[in-house]
């Protein structure tokens, strides 16, 4: 029963997600839900599209890179205008980058140390130059997540905090959609602007981001036609959806790794032989089974990403080898108790913990599993002695470049952060930095191959799985193209409803 009389044909896409969007400030907000809504409310210089992901022009109709890879020049689209009617100018771009760098929040980390307050300069009204402080080959890949805001509106509502309060719930963008209603914790409704500056697109008149916490409820919502798209489905949900009429399942690989970090600096696992013993004792098949639609990782980088080595030799379940390493370790007979933390409520992490527990039994090692809230887990990574022996992490590729994961997860400058709490190896550090700066693709490739080999040698992680992205769509949704980066931050503009 629908209460409203409908005048114009409304084409409203309903997206079920379990993540709330607490903040709409494009330079502050984080999380995939924020990315999803922001990418429809705001525009970046370039977009990412397709599988494999490709950088496509957006606010910038074109851009060029200097040969050393240090200087980018963007030509803005002449039609581009903010939703208050004012044009998107080079000044706006500079204003936006400066604000992002100044606030050091949200996605600022993607360009930390690479773009600084002096990097962005206005060439003319429609031309912007960005000069990198350090070489960064993947720069175009991070641009889709750096939004351009309307300087006038923000200046008008600047307040004492650079407009953060105002932008938290107001939109100053050029996107194809406007925010119509916001009920935090429940739903957000977007409405298509009357005439988007970008031509083309689908027939949607609006979209609703509806928060449904339970994945099974999301699935049922799609099944019953109450939602058009569900974003957080589990493998069990996908199985249940199989052959359901009117539902399209999308199960695609993406660059999101899930592995267990070991405390290489403190405690029993500082012993490389014990680490290797565990790597070989681990039941990879059970992990794969319990992960459902997934593939085992081969080494530290996601399969299929540039530079990944599919022929890399990594540990597999091999109890003899495990025992051999164990006998070389300081605890040749096991008999110790290790701890593993995980985010309470994250089901895959709990499962992998149980798989580990089950595997460790074979080495006569006990496992104490401690579910924790995320802040506590984050806090525990501050120093090696606070960190648990095992620390599982998901790492999403925000851009389709090996540097993303390599730098965050294995560079020692990130020690003390949850992506890489303790692991450090100067050789690996050097390789990562070299990879960042190398513009020659072939040379870059070999750098990453070396790096992977070195990391496998150190056994800082139990390499886990790449879970496939699992989405469900109503079949009347048209125009959806899967992209393996940030794939649940859906762009609504191209979509249509039958």
């Amino acid at each position: 029963p629908h209460a409203q009389a409908q005048t114009a044909p409304r084409k409203i896409l309903v997206v079920a997600s379990n993540q709330d969007v607490p903040n709409f400030d494009p330079h502050v907000a984080t999380g995939y839900s924020a990315s999803a809504l922001l990418r429809n409310l705001y525009d970046p210089l370039v977009r990412v599209e397709g599988n494999p992901p490709q950088v496509k022009p957006h606010l910038a109709e074109s851009f060029s890179v200097s040969p050393d890879g240090m200087e980018y020049i963007f030509k803005l689209d002449g039609k581009a205008k903010f939703n208050d009617g004012s044009p998107v100018t080079a000044d706006a771009v500079k204003y936006s980058f400066d604000r992002l760098v100044r606030l050091k929040k949200g996605n600022a980390w993607m360009i930390a140390g690479i773009v600084d307050e002096n990097s962005v300069s206005v060439v003319d009204a429609k031309t912007v130059k960005i000069k990198l402080a350090k070489p960064f080959v993947a720069f175009p890949h991070v641009l889709p997540w750096l939004w351009i805001i309307n300087p006038k509106l923000v200046e008008d509502n600047k307040g004492s905090d650079d407009g953060q309060t105002w932008l938290k719930s107001n939109i100053a963008g050029s996107g194809a959609f406007m925010l119509k209603r916001a009920e935090p914790g429940n739903l957000y409704e977007l409405e298509k602007v009357a005439s988007p500056w970008k031509s083309g697109g689908g027939n949607l008149t609006g979209a609703i981001w509806r928060i449904i916490r339970e994945t099974s409820n999301q699935r049922l919502a799609v099944q019953r036609g109450e939602a058009h798209m569900a974003l957080d489905l589990t493998s069990e949900d996908m199985d249940a959806l199989k052959d359901k009429p009117g539902v399209v399942s999308i199960i695609e690989p993406e660059f999101r790794t899930f592995s267990i970090k070991l405390n290489t600096e403190h405690g029993p696992l500082a012993d490389i032989n014990l680490r290797k013993a565990i790597s070989y004792a681990f039941n990879y098949q059970a992990m794969l089974d319990s992960a459902g639609y997934a593939q085992l990782m081969v080494g530290p980088l996601p399969n299929g990403i540039f530079g990944h080595d599919p022929k890399l030799v990594v540990p597999t379940t091999d109890l003899d080898k495990a025992k051999e390493f164990l006998s070389k370790s300081k605890v040749p007979n096991g008999g110790i108790k290790l701890t593993m933390v995980h985010v309470s409520g994250l089901e895959q992490q709990r499962r992998i913990a149980l798989v580990l527990l089950d595997s460790l039994k074979k080495l006569n090692i006990e496992l104490d599993i401690k579910p924790m809230v995320w802040p506590d887990m984050v806090a525990s990574t501050a120093s090696p002695d606070k960190m648990a022996d095992f620390f599982p992490v998901y790492q999403t590729a925000n851009y389709g470049d090996p540097d993303n994961i390599a730098f965050a997860a294995y560079h020692s400058s990130r020690n003390g952060n949850w992506q890489n709490p303790v692991y450090k190896n100067p050789k690996v550090d050097a390789l990562i930095l070299a990879g960042r700066a190398e513009t020659d693709q072939a040379k870059r490739q070999t750098i990453y191959l070396d790096m992977q080999k070195q990391i496998v040698e150190d056994a800082p992680d139990i390499f886990g799985v790449l879970e496939k992205r699992k989405l469900a769509l109503r079949s009347d949704v048209q125009g959806f193209i899967f992209t393996p980066v940030a794939s649940n931050a859906v762009e609504f503009f191209p979509l249509s409803l039958k």
Binding site: E236, L354, D368, P371
Partner: protein, 293 residues
């Protein structure tokens, strides 16, 4: 009507009468039976279940989500663990946790209540205002906050729930102590020159224990519910401890297809709570027939 008619039944007759009354009530007997079975399972659980290794976290991913069968009576779960074994093992967790909550709450509440009731004056005022305030706090939210802050684990959970549970005991204890304090036999002892400690220990406390014990038995079921509720919210025990609330909470995601993962833990909570409630009711009728019918 008065019961002071010429004949004065002996203690043993009183017992007989109570047991008769208890036996008269089929529901109390059913409650006792459920509780006894639960205790048996709790004690012998890890020996009598078909897959004891699953209780301590063993998995078998080759047999995920098998429906109930003669091998897996209640089916298997997402890791191929035998749901029957887990549910059986859950009895021990729930019983220990429920008992822990009730004991701690009764001890803390009992001490505070007895002190407030016996001392009276400003001590009473301060303690009771505190108790009243605690009662106005939303108990589940309080327990959740404490449990979440302390981290997962049976002990933390029991502690967290007890912290919101004791005021009920404090109030009961205080009321009973005040009532008994005014009783003539206590005044008689005072008139004899008995010391406060003697009065409290010898005269007051022994005579207020039965309502406390009755409340404890009645609360057992609710404590088990509270434990399961925290587990259901996801603030509960640590894996691999099989706890009914957490089992149910996990299984929610698998409804309706893998219904067995949810239904059996749910029913287990239901029957355990029912058993203790029935037994508690029966005991109350037994010790305190006037209280409620």
């Amino acid at each position: 009507m008065t019961n002071h008619n010429g004949a004065h039944p002996s203690r043993w007759q009183n017992w007989q009468r109570s047991i008769y009354r208890f036996r008269q009530s089929g529901l109390s007997i059913a409650g006792l039976a459920i509780v006894l079975v639960l205790m048996l399972i709790a004690v012998a659980g890890s020996w009598i279940v078909p897959f004891p290794e699953h209780i301590s976290g063993g998995i078998n991913t080759a047999a995920r989500f098998k429906p109930p069968s003669s091998l897996y009576w209640f089916g298997t779960n997402e890791l191929g663990q035998d749901v029957f074994s887990l549910v059986m093992a859950g009895a021990r967790v729930s019983l220990i946790a429920g008992f822990g909550v009730v004991m701690i709450a009764a001890i803390i509440g009992g001490l505070i209540g007895a002190l407030a009731g016996y001392a009276g004056g400003w001590i009473d005022d301060v303690l009771m205002r505190l108790t009243d305030l605690m009662l106005t706090l939303p108990s589940l939210i309080l327990a959740m906050a404490i449990a979440a802050a302390l981290g997962a684990g049976l002990d933390n959970m029991v502690f967290a729930i007890s912290m919101s549970w004791w005021p009920g005991f404090a109030r009961l204890m205080r009321g009973e102590v005040i009532a008994k304090k005014e009783d003539l036999f206590v005044q008689a002892a005072r008139a004899l020159g008995a010391s406060d400690s003697r009065i409290l220990l010898r005269h007051v406390l022994p005579n207020v224990m039965s309502p406390i014990i009755i409340k404890m038995s009645l609360d057992m079921g609710f404590a088990i519910l509270a434990v399961a509720a925290l587990g259901f919210i996801g603030i509960g025990v640590k894996p691999p401890t099989p706890e009914w609330g957490s089992l149910l909470s996990l299984a929610r995601g698998y409804l309706p297809d893998y219904w067995w993962t949810a239904i059996f833990p749910g029913l287990a909570i239901f029957f355990a709570v029912l058993g203790f409630n029935l037994l508690g009711d029966g005991l109350r009728d037994l010790f305190d027939p006037k209280a409620r019918r």
